[in-house]
Symmetry: C2
Subunit: 373 residues, 2 copies
């Protein structure tokens, strides 16, 4: 039932436009998935996500398991109905959050033992359990449990961690086979830090397991851009063309464009939402710190080229005032704009690939974005 | 240019429907004015206020003078353009805020001397200055500077304070006459605490000064409902019928209905917005504390009878989850609903008066609202 098809591949790069068909609707790729960690894209009404052209969001297994629990969400009819977003939803496995948020107790071959960051309760996540939770949540794109080592990490340690992640991936796939679900996809997650040989090993083993899609994890966690680009490039070369590819946590417009060029189809990142809440927004001419005093009497919109509700009705001076005054509307207007900016970025990317002028579009976009035009 | 007309008066009470025509559009009365203290109705997009049927909001002179300043708002084209709300805006004079928020230094016959609650700077407000600020802000309904004594207060002290407020009102009116502005209205503010004789004195003197409208201040500040109702009733009897009447800070649906019955046309209150942000919402069956554990698995909307975006798409269980998780969307959805509830309450009030069945409507509404049906 769920399938992925490629509509067009760029002649000069690996960039491609495609479609993922889910029971909650179609996702046109390359696609941006705003982060809905706790079952909400922070400070956004689902109707406004929809209006921006967002087609899928990504929620978090770790957070939703802790609160309100997958059983409650299942009773509500799944995460889509629960959060009033009647479109596809992906879920991260929670691996990253276990390592970054929880009080991690022990990593074993059959799973990971940790304490909740909310109430200190002891929890044991196995690869199988994490899939079961995501099924109960009603996720359309499921991620396997993985270990997320920090950056930097030695080759030896990265290898050791990767072997465990691969073991978990195998358990995940075996469990998944038994469930015989064809109305959602399961993604394997490639790890291996910045080591090309480990990334290649990781990818090849996962490809052998035959997942529905492949996620590239453990990037955008502090490594230099050159290392990140190298890994993304390698992945673009070796991942099977007929499966969707997802670069987790990426990121900045320039990184996204680079990854699209290397054949990546799916992205998620907290940047448009988190930065907006602290007063930094994205525009066609780069980032803008709206709280700066220089915008005090600036009666132009955040972005002259943007046609979102924020840019059509409110000035920089007003939004700056709202941030100064600590008003909730500040976060609402800034987030609405930045989500529209990212949604538009992806519309432009898809159009450029379809029109066969991705390289030209990229050059023009980045020149303006980097203030060189 | 600005005028008030009465379309129909209820046969069994003083309730009336009317219209205030301003350069920013028409306000159908009785009308509810959501509070936009700092130039935003907290957690609401102006487009959603508009969609709810809100026709006017009330901003605050004290707050906007301190930040961002009336000159900035004037440069922006007035408060309507500044806040992206292209409809009428009333402004409170700031009297109440000087007494409740600032470090009050001295009240003199020609004005009030206080320190900003934001940066401690010294400010002197005169009746004339407060009008000038409101004109710069672009207010459609201007309030005179008044002294707001707390409750309780002795008759003697209330009288002393009232005399000063009346002196200020006279200065205000004299200043206003010189300005010869016919594109906005100025309201006198009736004070006198819970003393009928003082309220009557206050009203009569203000009526003699011939303001465009009359506001009843100093209520809903802790006095018993029976005292409040007594004053409102008295005002309904003696205020001129051809001028709009505004009950400041009222309030709860039952108080609003009582006041409408006594001929009040305008209302403002922080209840729908402030309570929503802390998890209490208004429904056709009374108040509901959405954070209560009893709603944990309640998959019904906040109010079955409400057709707002919140009630059409989200459950009590979900909104409770958002409050538990500290999400901004909690405040957004709860506020959106309660503003819709108040907007609908006023639509029902206007319709009932027009249809000539206000008393029956009141009985039915309150029975359901108070859980007796």
């Amino acid at each position: 039932m769920v399938k992925f098809e490629i509509l067009k591949v760029d002649k000069e790069s690996r960039a491609r436009v495609g479609r993922i068909y889910t029971k909650w609707g179609v996702v046109e790729t390359p696609a941006f998935m705003p982060v809905a960690t706790q079952g909400t894209v922070k400070a956004m009404f689902p109707k406004d996500l929809n209006e921006a052209g967002i087609q899928i969001v990504i929620a978090n297994t770790y957070h939703l398991h802790l609160r309100p629990g997958e059983d409650l969400i299942n009773k509500a009819g799944g995460i889509q109905k629960f959060m009033g977003w009647f479109k596809p939803v992906a879920t991260d496995s929670g691996g990253f959050q276990i390592y970054s948020l929880s009080d991690l107790k022990e990593v074993k071959d059959d799973g990971v033992f940790f304490r909740s960051h909310l109430d200190g309760s002891y929890i044991f996540f196995t690869p199988e359990k994490v899939i079961d939770i995501q099924i109960k949540l009603g996720s359309d794109l499921i991620m396997v449990l993985d270990e997320c080592p920090p950056y930097p990490i030695s080759h030896e340690e990265a290898y050791k961690s990767l072997k465990r992640t691969l073991k978990w991936a195998e358990k995940s796939k075996n469990h998944w086979e038994k469930l015989k679900l064809n109305d959602r996809m399961i993604f394997g997650i490639i790890q291996g830090s910045v080591y090309e040989d480990l990334r290649e090993l990781s990818a090849k083993e996962l490809i052998d397991m035959d997942f529905d899609g492949y996620a590239i994890g453990g990037l955008a966690i502090g490594e230099p851009k050159v290392e990140r680009d190298k890994i993304i490039k390698k992945m673009g070369e070796i991942l099977p063309e007929n499966k969707p590819r997802y670069a987790m946590g990426i990121g900045y417009p320039e990184d996204i464009i680079e990854a699209v060029e290397n054949g990546i189809d799916l992205f998620d990142c907290v940047l448009p939402t988190r930065n907006a809440r602290t007063g930094t927004v994205f525009t066609s001419r780069g980032k803008l710190v709206i709280k700066n005093a220089s915008y005090k009497e600036d009666f132009s919109p955040i972005d002259e080229e943007c046609s979102c509700y924020t840019c059509k009705n409110f000035t920089r001076a007003y939004i700056r005032h709202l941030f100064q005054a600590g008003e909730i509307l500040a976060a609402m207007l800034a987030t609405l704009h930045s989500i529209n900016f990212f949604a538009n970025l992806f519309k432009q990317i898809r159009k450029a690939i379809k029109d066969g002028n991705f390289k030209e579009w990229k050059k023009e976009f980045l020149e303006k974005y980097n203030g060189k035009q």
